[in-house]
């Protein structure tokens, strides 16, 4: 039991730190988007990311292979990045619409969190089903209301 809760603390803290990393990445990408355009910035960022992630994989996995491939994984899982391109276009559309940046960001975050929780509950996309406890709901409520307070003011 103790081991499990230490792991939880470790992974939760790592997740929080990765959020900070994401904010820094978005900050830099935003600066790039001013010079290019949001879609072109995303294109360039993905290109740089190919090399960054490949080197990261080679260093961490110590694999001698050329590509991180496994025949045990369902084929569709390799194609998730295609959805990332659709996200870029949709975000581009809504940010430049009547709902603007803050509206887009708030709604995307809401959809993101709600769908992620639904994935947990239903075990979609090959994830294990998870029971959502009252404590989990309290955590979601605190984190989401805290995030929205910061966004909206």
């Amino acid at each position: 039991m103790e081991g499990i809760s230490i792991k939880n603390t470790y992974y939760s803290t790592t997740a929080l730190a990765s959020g900070a990393l994401l904010a820094l990445a978005i900050f830099l990408n935003g600066r790039l988007a001013v010079r290019l355009s949001p879609a072109w910035s995303s294109l360039v960022v993905h290109f740089v990311g190919i090399f960054g992630s490949w080197f990261l994989w080679r260093i961490l996995s110590r694999s001698g292979g050329l590509l991180p491939y496994s025949s045990y994984v369902p084929r569709w899982a390799y194609l998730g990045g295609l959805g990332g391109a659709v996200i870029v276009f949709f975000a581009n559309t809504t940010v430049n619409s009547v709902i603007g940046l803050v509206g887009s960001l708030s709604l995307m975050i809401l959809g993101f969190a709600v769908f992620a929780i639904l994935i947990d509950i239903n075990g979609w996309l090959g994830m294990p089903k998870r029971h959502i406890s009252p404590g989990d709901l309290l955590q979601v409520l605190c984190l989401m209301s805290g995030s929205f307070l910061i966004i909206l003011y």
Partner: protein, 162 residues
């Protein structure tokens, strides 16, 4: 009426983000977190490279004039996706998502404050307090079996992308 379309689109886009993140985490359970980050960037780049120049045209920008550090966002993104692929199977998609969002918003507010000094202090302080409270609540929660363990049961080898 028109705004309802964009509201639905933004909400749907959030669904899509969750789907993409979890799909990549699923891949990461087999080819390692960083390996899945590679596929995420490769397929994302190919899809954008095949559509953006045709749909939006080539920008009239001086690529040589762009400071080198602005390109580093891509490297940070690669690490971010890899970390996400580690965290999602371990503590769940929902918990990972709300924590990452909180971290992103909190640090984003700090960046804004450092950059322009224009941040509403009281709501931000309240928001950060709520985030800290939420993290504390989460630290006390018990977890189920990590999905990583399930993936290891499903396959006979422990291949890191052989």
């Amino acid at each position: 009426m028109n705004s309802l379309v964009f509201i639905s689109l933004a909400l749907f886009n959030g669904f899509l983000i969750a789907g993409v993140r979890v799909t990549n985490a699923k891949l990461g359970m087999y080819v390692s977190a960083a390996g899945a980050s590679f596929w995420n960037h490769l397929t994302g780049f190919l899809a954008l490279a095949l559509t953006v120049p045709w749909l939006l045209g080539v920008p009239d920008a001086d690529f040589n004039g762009i400071p080198f550090y602005l390109y580093l966002g891509g490297l940070l993104g690669a690490v971010y996706i890899a970390v996400n692929n580690t965290v999602i199977p371990s503590i769940g998609a929902g918990r990972s998502t709300v924590i990452v969002i909180a971290g992103q918003i909190m640090f984003g507010a700090l960046l804004d404050f450092a950059g322009t000094g224009m941040t509403a202090v009281l709501p931000s302080f309240l928001g950060i307090t709520l985030v800290v409270l939420g993290m504390w609540v989460g630290y006390r929660a018990k977890l189920g079996i990590p999905a990583v363990a399930i993936a290891q049961q499903e396959r006979p080898d422990s291949a890191n992308g052989k």
